[in-house]
């Protein structure tokens, strides 16, 4: 399964561009060739700017001001980190809408080193108001999130695609994704929130443990109500966050959700220190303690406190 989220993005966006003349796609060379067919059909709405990421976001903002619904795409560090002030000013501050679709996530491009890895993207966007942040764990979830975002009249949506993922679309079991937390497993000792591509690993790591496992394919806005509901009736308000980007990115959201409730929180995710290693995404997951064994060890210790 993994590896096909970006391909699904290309396929769905190509389809949407045919149907919705309000929609525009902007790239900065990365993935541009994958849109050759769409560009030949809609040269005015499929725009490749060259390697110009400040312009990528500026153009997206300008397209929105002209009444279009822009989708801007690049790898996560070049889409979010490099032009961050453009996101703040050319999108948020203008009241412009856009759909930002990234590829690469935290360590999909493990061999590429620090420059091609963006574990801080969701944390950065969390400093700005009004963003919906999707972290799909399966191409079917990504497709539905993309279709919904593109069809919206306006609004700011970040769709964080990854080559990592789950065997099934947990977010779509029993109906369309709602942006709410979904219960994958119920238990009494703690609530583990598994975000996007890490869900299957979390299920494996917590097998046999008396914990509730929630699944989030959307982290902003954060489903505080869903978290409260899961804690209701548990022996203790103990929460474990497992996020596929910088550890602690959603800690403030949990604190806000549980402001009146004494609670414990273990926030797991990609480490803060720079990992100067190459290899594979799986090796990076393990190095950050996000493999099944590392997660089980840390969650078990947390439960034993």
């Amino acid at each position: 399964m993994p590896g096909i989220m970006r391909e699904r993005f290309v396929e769905v966006t190509t389809d949407l561009l045919d149907r919705d003349e309000r929609l525009a796609l902007v790239t900065a060379d990365l993935s541009a060739k994958l849109f050759d067919r769409a560009r030949s059909r809609h040269p005015d709405r499929v725009l490749n700017l060259g390697i110009r990421e400040q312009l990528l976001i500026g153009v997206a903002g300008g397209l929105s001001l002209a009444g279009l619904r822009p989708i801007a795409h690049s790898f996560a560090p070049f889409l979010v980190e490099r032009p961050f002030e453009q996101i703040k000013l050319d999108l948020n501050h203008q009241g412009a809408g856009a759909v930002l679709v990234s590829a690469g996530a935290s360590y999909d491009i493990a061999g590429g080193g620090r420059s091609h890895q963006a574990p801080g993207d969701v944390a950065l966007l969390s400093t700005l108001p009004d963003w919906t942040v999707h972290v799909p764990g399966h191409p079917d979830e990504a497709e539905q999130q993309l279709r919904t975002a593109a069809a919206a009249a306006d609004g700011l949506v970040y769709l964080r695609l990854s080559n990592q993922g789950n065997a099934r679309a947990h977010g779509l079991v029993g109906g369309a994704a709602t942006g709410r937390l979904r219960v994958l497993r119920e238990g009494g000792a703690a609530t583990v929130v598994a975000v996007g591509p890490l869900a299957d690993t979390v299920l494996e790591a917590t097998a046999g443990l008396d914990v509730t496992v929630l699944y989030a394919a959307t982290v902003r806005p954060f489903d505080a109500t869903g978290l409260r509901a899961a804690l209701d009736g548990q022996r203790e308000a103990a929460v474990v966050l497992v996020e596929p980007y910088l550890a602690g990115t959603s800690s403030a959201e949990v604190a806000r959700a549980l402001v009146d409730l004494p609670h414990r929180l273990l926030a797991l995710g990609v480490g803060h220190d720079e990992l100067r290693n190459y290899g594979s995404p799986r090796q990076h997951a393990i190095a950050h303690g996000l493999g099944p064994a590392g997660l089980r060890l840390r969650i078990s210790r947390f439960l034993a406190h």
């Binding site: 005015d44 060259g50 312009l55 153009v59 300008g62 397209l63 002209a66 279009l68 501050h93 203008q94």
Partner: protein
């Protein structure tokens, strides 16, 4: 808002216009002698709004757009918008107070007629490239998108991403005016226009105090190419 309350459009030509605009600016500064940043743009703004831009307070969809990228010293901009009936003149004396729509940098969400919020340098031209592309995609082919930049602002690299791309794709509804008061710390040897010309723009230069020359430079026809006008402003003298 009714327009009768706000609009007594300033006449068509000459010094009377500027004296009225000066009076409007004085409502914001409390001083008939204004800050240099504000006055360096006044003539250019006035000629654009009086003689070039197809835009009214109704903000029709097929209007020309004007993006003030160099957002600091916006008093001249607010004065022109008030003179043209976009903005209530009664707002001017409240410039910069807590609940005023008129900040030290303009906010499009607060000020009628303002197309972009600006302040941080180097954002207006990339946004304008996007809007020009968007208007073209929507078939609004007669709408020009104007951007006002400062020569110091051109230091920001984001402008150069936009200049190169707009030139290469022949975005001929994109029009730029650069206020050149020689404020860039390291200058632009060979002239500001050279940076645009090499990317395929048509270029013109005019004295920013000469309204006829500005108008002629603004209206130069450049099919298939974006157009830049460098408006030269003299350094302020000590008596200014």
């Amino acid at each position: 808002m009714t327009m009768t309350r706000t609009s007594r459009p300033v006449g068509s030509d000459g010094r009377a216009d500027l004296s009225e605009l000066n009076a409007l600016m004085a409502q914001m500064t409390g001083d008939e002698k204004h800050s240099w940043a504000a006055t360096s743009t006044l003539d250019v703004l006035w000629v654009l709004y009086d003689r070039v831009l197809r835009v009214t307070p109704e903000m029709a969809e097929d209007r020309d757009r004007f993006f003030l990228s160099k957002g600091h010293g916006p008093m001249a901009y607010y004065a022109v918008l008030a003179a043209r009936g976009f903005l209530a003149r009664e707002e001017l004396p409240r410039f910069g107070v807590f609940r005023s729509p008129l900040g030290h940098h303009p906010d499009r969400m607060l000020v009628p007629g303002v197309e972009i919020s600006s302040g941080s340098l180097g954002h207006g031209l990339p946004l304008a490239v996007g809007t020009a592309l968007g208007l073209r995609a929507r078939g609004l082919a007669d709408s020009d998108v104007w951007v006002l930049l400062g020569d110091g602002e051109l230091d920001e690299g984001s402008n150069h991403e936009a200049i190169a791309y707009a030139g290469r794709v022949g975005l001929d509804r994109l029009k730029v005016v650069v206020i050149d008061n020689a404020s860039a710390s390291h200058g632009w040897p060979g002239g500001i226009e050279a940076r645009f010309a090499v990317e395929g723009w048509s270029t013109a230069r005019a004295d920013a105090r000469d309204h006829g020359a500005l108008e002629a430079a603004f209206k130069e026809h450049s099919p298939g190419r974006p157009h830049v006008v460098v408006a030269e402003v003299e350094e302020p003298s000590s008596s200014h």
